[in-house]
């Protein structure tokens, strides 16, 4: 019974076209951007409001300032005490998640549709008029300091942070720890955070995405009420320099002898999101370290050799060229074998390239997964936020199959040769391993 051969020939492009998100897009007179999408899957609404003020905007010498601001921004406003905010959120069963990436400062939550207007008003108040009370700042500082200490005890975090510092040296924004150091966090004072907010948070930097069971006009009216009256001059553009790729092979060992497993992080400076090679890099990386369980890397290190529970690679293309990172968690006795296997897979990728079948398999998967990736309100909101940030266009979900479909085998293999430079790899090993 030949049921496992590929007899599937549906046209995913047609499906995604039929489902095209077609969000409503508007720019308010003060420069704030609004994206809305009406869905009726559940009687709930996802709110995703992002400010173009991520950790890359941390002042020199003060890495961690934006992160600390994110911990305290929702603990009081001109209109509300921390207790008021707690009551408004908790009485509606809402968790407000505040996250900081290199370029975005985001407030994200899901609420019942009936609660939409007051919750959006609360989110707007928090984002535009935080009061940062001194006593709240002291409490949140203690939490951040504990979190930094926890990170220092994690081989996975240590390996990852050390890799980024090596790939992006000399204080480059992508090489800094988002949470900062204990010394910097201890030194930060309220006025510095207020100044950071005043200088980087402005309507021109704001994108509010609303997806869920609210009509577009209702969502737009509410957003205009919440954000339309906010005025503040646009901050100067943030320039993130490209990082010069390391000029020599680097290898760093962080011995953590009380741990049971070693974490390996190996990487390269790769591409920016707007690089013409981005889609070729995406597909190449998917074959190399993503497809099924970790692509070729997972096949070799986990499936064939049984050395690791996880082995994979990821591509984090950003405003400036972001990293391609290979990760594996292995028994300390297997570190050298795992590193040799990573080297072998990198050499094979550069020497022989990927095959047409591998490219087609990854492409079919990525295109076919679009309906699944856009099933929930929260996932759609996140997709639209990314679409807006990188200027991908309102029909990006519909064009994505063609963008992936246009990548040729030669382009994917050229991308591999461009990015994967085994002779210039940067490797960090953290865990019970002395090197």
């Amino acid at each position: 019974m030949d049921l496992v051969s590929n007899r599937h020939t549906s046209d995913f492009k047609l499906q995604t076209s039929a489902r095209g998100l077609s969000p409503a897009h508007a720019v308010l007179p003060n420069g704030a951007t609004l994206l809305t999408k009406h869905t009726t899957t559940t009687p709930a609404v996802a709110i995703n409001v992002a400010m173009g003020a991520g950790s890359a905007a941390d002042p020199p010498g003060n890495a961690g300032m934006t992160w600390l601001l994110s911990r305290v921004i929702d603990r009081g406003t001109a209109l509300r005490t921390a207790a008021d905010i707690a009551d408004e959120l908790d009485s509606r069963g809402i968790t407000l998640t505040i996250s900081v990436t290199r370029h975005l400062f985001s407030l994200v939550c899901t609420c019942l549709a009936d609660d939409f207007e007051p919750v959006l008003a609360l989110v707007g108040d928090i984002l535009t008029a935080p009061s940062l009370p001194e006593e709240e700042l002291a409490t949140r500082k203690g939490e951040v300091l504990t979190a930094i200490r926890q990170d220092e005890d994690s081989p996975a975090v240590r390996a990852s942070e050390a890799l980024m510092a090596l790939l992006y040296p000399s204080g480059h924004p992508y090489g800094r720890r988002t949470k900062g150091s204990t010394a910097v966090v201890e030194s930060l004072v309220r006025d510095q955070l207020l100044q950071l907010h005043a200088s980087r948070f402005a309507p021109t930097e704001l994108t509010a995405v609303i997806v869920g069971d609210v009509e577009r006009s209702r969502a737009a009216d509410a957003a205009a009420r919440v954000f339309g009256g906010w005025t503040r001059p646009a901050p100067p553009p943030l320039v993130v320099p490209a990082s010069a790729p390391p000029a020599a092979k680097q290898r760093v060992v962080i011995p953590m002898m009380s741990k049971a497993q070693a974490d390996i992080a190996c990487g390269f400076v790769a591409v920016a999101r707007k690089d013409p090679d981005y889609y070729a890099c995406w597909l190449m990386n998917h074959v190399f370290g993503q497809y099924s369980i970790g692509g070729r890397l997972g096949d070799s290190i986990r499936e064939r050799q049984g050395m690791a529970y996880y082995a994979s690679s990821s591509l984090d293309a950003n405003v400036a060229p972001g990293p391609l990172t290979i990760r594996a968690g292995v028994n300390p006795a297997n570190v050298d074998r795992a590193l040799a296997s990573i080297d072998e897979e990198m050499a094979r990728l550069v020497r022989d390239g990927i095959t047409q079948k591998e490219l087609d398999d990854s492409r079919r998967f990525l295109i076919g997964s679009i309906p699944r990736a856009l099933e929930t309100n929260a996932a759609i909101a996140n997709f639209l936020q990314t679409e807006e940030f990188f200027g991908l266009g309102l029909d990006y979900d519909e064009r994505l199959p063609d963008l992936l479909g246009a990548v040729t085998l030669d382009q994917a293999n050229a991308a591999a040769r461009r990015i994967i430079r085994p002779e210039l790899s940067t490797v960090v090993i953290a865990g019970p391993y002395q090197g």
Binding site: D90, T139, G142, M257
Partner: protein, 432 residues
């Protein structure tokens, strides 16, 4: 939802959801780490891994890609009461998903080389978990709280069992438990229920039922005094866990305790596949205020899982740097004593019920999550309780919560665990 039992004993649950062109298929087995005997701890989870390694009709080298070609995702997990497998993909992959699950039930290979290769993968998974002090403490606390019931050993198993288990152990366990009369198949998505049921019958109908499974019958005796443990190991951060023996999901106390947990640490909902990815709303919760807002801890959480047998209600706290664990424990236990003595207020009950109502909506936002919930509760024998959850939560009274608190929180019912870090002796070695 349509419920059917095939002639071979397979329970089938089908629910049409036409919100997206997707279907999610889950196959649940009533086997988890509580079914494991000494020497074979971890066998359920290891079998789960082996059941992705090829079957009679799915050659090993064709496993990879079998659902990916439909853009689909797949996964599986094992816990104390259950083992489950899922695929979510476009609706036209329904046949493929049913084929995979029927093969998994009847025809897995357990090639000796694959068993050996997977041994080290699983030991690596165990060691990765041990890198996390909070995970290590959780494992030790559970092993201390239970002295007889098999909930005491970790689902991943003890290292020595993972080192010595044989291929025959694994295969024999697979053959005994992977039978239609020990399974539930769930389909949720953009399907026609009648048509889907015919497809299920085509793929599963001919699989023979197995003999009745001889279950471990041990019950945990009542705990008669507080138990304590301390892990001293290199680390940077101190952790506290307090575990109380808690009612099974069939108990009348379960929903009052769910409300009580919401009052203490914020409502989590009932979906362990998705709920715990978003932290609970907890800024007004009693333990958050007592520990985090007062600067004693950087985080606090509560965990009440729906389980077939009585398991644990666990409260966990991360001590803020510089705060002794004893101070965190004292403040935590003082709050629980107040709750045990005075119960909760009407305002707290109302807020907890509103939170739980919202969480039930939020956690049913995809075909994958809906299918998980149906299969999970069917497997632990309480699907009715899940379907009635909104009404059961709304019906909880102040007295219900107070009496549940009185039963759960006596000192003699608790186990207290500390992770007390030793200074690190690490150093940085660099070669360029």
């Amino acid at each position: 939802m349509r419920r059917t039992t095939l002639a071979n004993g397979l329970t089938v649950l089908i629910r049409e959801e036409h919100t997206a062109p997707l279907a999610s298929v889950w196959c649940w087995y009533k086997v988890g780490s509580k079914d494991e005997r000494p020497g074979l701890t971890g066998v359920s989870h290891w079998c789960e891994h082996m059941n992705f390694k090829g079957t009679t009709n799915i050659p090993r080298d064709q496993v990879k890609g079998i659902i990916e070609q439909y853009g689909g995702s797949w996964n599986g997990y094992t816990w104390i009461d259950e083992t489950t497998y899922l695929e979510t993909a476009t609706r036209d992959a329904l046949d493929r998903m049913l084929f995979i699950e029927s093969e998994r039930m009847a025809n897995c290979l357990y090639h000796p080389d694959d068993c050996e290769s997977e041994r080290t993968v699983i030991i690596s998974e165990l060691q990765g978990g041990e890198n996390d002090p909070d995970n290590l403490l959780d494992q030790e606390l559970t092993a201390t709280a239970f002295k007889a019931h098999p909930y005491r050993h970790p689902t991943i198993g003890w290292l020595s069992d993972l080192e010595t288990m044989t291929r025959d152990d694994l295969y024999g366990y697979y053959r005994r438990h992977y039978v239609p009369n020990n399974a539930t198949l769930v389909i949720v998505g953009d399907v026609d229920a009648d048509q889907a049921l015919r497809r299920v019958d085509r793929y599963f109908g001919a699989i023979q039922p197995g003999a009745a499974i001889d279950r471990i019958r041990t019950r945990e005796p009542e705990q008669t005094g507080e138990r304590r443990l301390t892990i001293r190991k290199e680390g940077t951060t101190a952790y506290l866990k307090v575990g109380y023996h808690a009612p099974a999901s069939t108990s009348a106390d379960f929903f009052p305790l769910l409300v009580l947990d919401a009052v203490l640490t914020g409502a989590k909902g009932l979906n362990l596949w998705s709920s715990f990815r978003v932290p609970p709303p907890q800024r007004s919760a009693r333990l958050y205020r007592a520990l985090v807002e007062r600067g004693r801890a950087s985080s606090v959480s509560g965990s009440l899982m729906p389980t077939e047998d009585p398991f644990l209600y666990t409260v966990s706290a991360t001590a803020k740097t510089g705060t002794p664990l004893a101070a965190v424990e004292e403040a935590l236990l003082a709050e629980l004593d107040v709750l045990r003595r005075d119960g909760i207020t009407a305002a707290e009950l109302k807020r907890a019920q509103a939170q739980l109502r919202a969480r039930l909506v939020f956690e049913s936002d995809s075909v994958t999550n809906i299918a998980h919930q149906l299969g999970y509760f069917e497997t632990i024998g309480t699907l009715d309780a899940f379907i009635q959850a909104p009404a059961r939560i709304a019906a909880v009274t102040l007295d219900d919560v107070a009496s549940a608190a009185r039963r759960i929180f006596p000192a003699s019912n608790r186990t207290v665990g500390w992770f007390d870090p030793l200074p690190s002796g690490e150093s940085l070695k660099s070669e360029v």
